[in-house]
């Protein structure tokens, strides 16, 4: 083993040491960037909101016709006053339906109501994915999901 060869080995090991540090730094940076992108998307969604419900028809006027309700990710609907969307209607159940935003789309699920939940005029019997523009009927209250 010449002194020259040893010197080269040391130099290579030296750069390998710092190299691994940078490799790790790169891996960390990638994870951090992924976070930033998720944060950006969430912020975007928060700015525009994830969706609204506009009331089209409401015989008891609670919620009033024409009102546009901003939605959170999880919305309970029914005659129970603690519901996110309080529906005052004799044909609605206390806990009538659940409207949720999961991943990238909206879902509605009937919570065992007496008169059922209707989407675009059809009664649903399991969780249904919604598109913007779909009409939901709870009792006699008709609402439209909008962006």
């Amino acid at each position: 083993m010449t002194a020259e060869a040893l010197r080269i080995i040391i130099l290579v090991a030296q750069f390998a040491f710092v190299g691994i540090l940078y490799l790790l730094l790169f891996a960390f940076a990638r994870s951090l960037l992924r976070d930033l992108r998720i944060a950006e998307r969430t912020q975007e969604a928060a700015r525009h909101g994830i969706g609204r419900l506009t009331v089209l028809e409401s015989p008891e006027d609670e919620p009033p016709v024409g009102r546009s309700i901003a939605l959170g990710p999880i919305n309970s609907m029914g005659r129970n006053v603690n519901s996110t969307i309080f529906v005052e209607d004799d044909f609605a159940s206390a806990t009538h339906a659940m409207l949720t935003f999961r991943g990238r789309s909206w879902f509605i699920e009937d919570q065992g109501s007496t008169n059922g939940t209707h989407v675009n005029g059809h009664r649903i019997d399991r969780p249904v994915a919604l598109s913007y523009g779909d009409e939901i009927t709870i009792g006699r209250v008709r609402m439209r999901l909008e962006r």
Binding site: L6, A13, I20, I74
Partner: protein
């Protein structure tokens, strides 16, 4: 609850299996001139200890942040390589009569720290004990401070140490964490009042006097530390943490402005009145006025940075002895960053700082994701303590600000500092665990 494998954490920890032993082997080869890796037991034990902490988190079903441990492990690994490269006779403890050297002692503290971290991360699931007894904690911190003033041992003119038999302990590190807990509790409770109320004086909005009082109290404590225990670094750190948390809680620039003005006024008065402050500042402005005595440390550090250059002198090849001694006093604690900058160069020093920045980024992410104000402010304060401490000591090393004796978290030699850093990490893990569990709960309900 299903097991979380923490795959990201494991993936990011594996490179340490090469990094730390490589650093040890490289040091041995350079120091002996023979192509033989030498003893790698300590390096492997270090990585094994961190992997064991990872495994414990997996087995105990922890769902906290997966980047914190690998980041701290990498930063600590570079520090251990550097401590192993320095002469082992500098300092260190012996356990049961066997001298384990400086790096060995640091490793022992790493194990203690990791155990504390896992313990806090896993069993500390309810922050009520911190939140509700904040005044008790503050009183305990103040008592600890007072005990240190009265009974502490004096080292280099600063009274910072308490001794329990053979083990020395720096209460400042514990007080730092207690202070963050107290400020987080106080601000979480009074946040709306502090952010809302103000009085208009000219163009500046000034908060009314009752809300200024806690700020003045903290200011008084900090000045007390400067005057009585003469610990400038800790004083600067405490004050910086306080101002940062106040700003985050209220979003009011006027608090920061008033705080900084108070700080400048206090610093000026301290400079005029106290010799030990004046010496630091004069050394900072011109260390070449007395390069062999008062300015020696700073001047030698600047030479070391210069020798290091872009790629460094090489591990084990820098730090030429001057009169049989290492060129910079306190190189294993206050000046460890200078040693790394000399031997690994700008590229190595930058990598270390970038890793630290990533750790701070991650800590702030924990704060953002936290579900309640107290946890969020706690995470901000703890993260700031690590980040600001790094800034203060690195800037002091590089003569950007006056030098103050303070440690580089996870890197500097020292048990109290290392243990405190791991307690911070454990608390951050525990906060992020709680937000992750809550988020899963929400998703499950949906």
């Amino acid at each position: 609850m299903p097991i979380a494998w923490r795959g990201t954490e494991l993936r990011l920890l594996l490179p340490l299996l090469v990094l730390v032993p490589l650093g040890f082997a490289l040091t041995h080869v350079v120091q002996t001139g023979v192509l033989d890796p030498g003893p790698l037991g300590l390096a492997i034990a270090y990585v094994a200890a961190i992997l064991a902490a990872h495994l414990a988190l997996v087995l105990l079903g922890h769902r906290g942040d997966q980047l914190l441990l690998p980041l701290a492990g990498t930063i600590g690994g570079v520090g251990l390589v550097m401590l192993n490269r320095l002469p082992q006779s500098l300092t260190g403890m012996s356990i049961f009569g066997a001298d384990i050297g400086m790096a060995g002692t640091q490793f022992a503290w790493f194990v203690v720290g990791l155990v504390a971290m896992v313990g806090i991360a896993v069993f500390f699931r309810d922050d009520g004990a911190l939140r509700h007894y904040k005044y008790t904690w503050a009183a305990a911190g103040a008592a600890l401070l007072a005990i240190t003033f009265l009974f502490g041992a004096e080292v280099n003119g600063a009274r910072l140490w308490l001794h329990f038999g053979p083990i020395g302990f720096q209460p400042g590190e514990a007080i730092k964490i207690v202070l963050v807990v107290f400020i987080a509790g106080y601000l979480a409770e009074n946040r709306a009042l502090l952010a809302g109320a103000h009085r208009q004086i000219g163009p500046v909005k000034i908060p009314p006097l009752p809300y200024l009082l806690p700020m003045l109290a903290i200011f008084a404590i900090v000045m007390g530390i400067v005057v009585i225990s003469r610990d400038l670094g800790t004083a600067l750190l405490f004050y910086g943490i306080f101002l940062t948390m106040l700003f985050v809680a209220t979003g009011r620039r006027s608090y920061v402005l008033v705080g900084l003005l108070l700080f400048l006024a206090g610093a000026f008065v301290a400079y005029k009145l106290f010799g030990h402050v004046a010496i630091r500042v004069d050394n900072w402005i011109n260390p070449w006025a007395d390069p062999t005595d008062a300015g020696y440390q700073t001047v030698q550090a600047l030479y070391a940075f210069g020798r290091g250059g872009l790629f460094g002198e090489g591990l084990g090849q820098g730090l030429p002895l001057i009169g049989g001694h290492l060129p910079i006093p306190a190189i294993q604690t206050d000046f460890i960053f200078t040693a790394i900058a000399e031997e690994l160069g700008l590229v190595g020093a930058f990598a270390l700082l970038a890793l630290m920045a990533a750790l701070v980024f991650r800590g702030l992410r924990v704060a953002i994701l936290a579900r309640d104000d107290f946890s969020s402010l706690l995470a901000v304060g703890l993260t700031t303590s690590i980040g600001l401490q790094t800034l203060i000591i690195v800037a002091g090393n590089a003569k950007l600000i006056p030098l103050t004796g303070i440690t580089f978290p996870f890197v500097s030699y020292g048990g109290s500092s290392l243990l405190a850093s791991f307690v911070v990490l454990g608390l951050l893990l525990s906060i992020s665990h709680r937000s992750a569990v809550d988020a899963e709960h929400d998703a499950g309900r949906a």
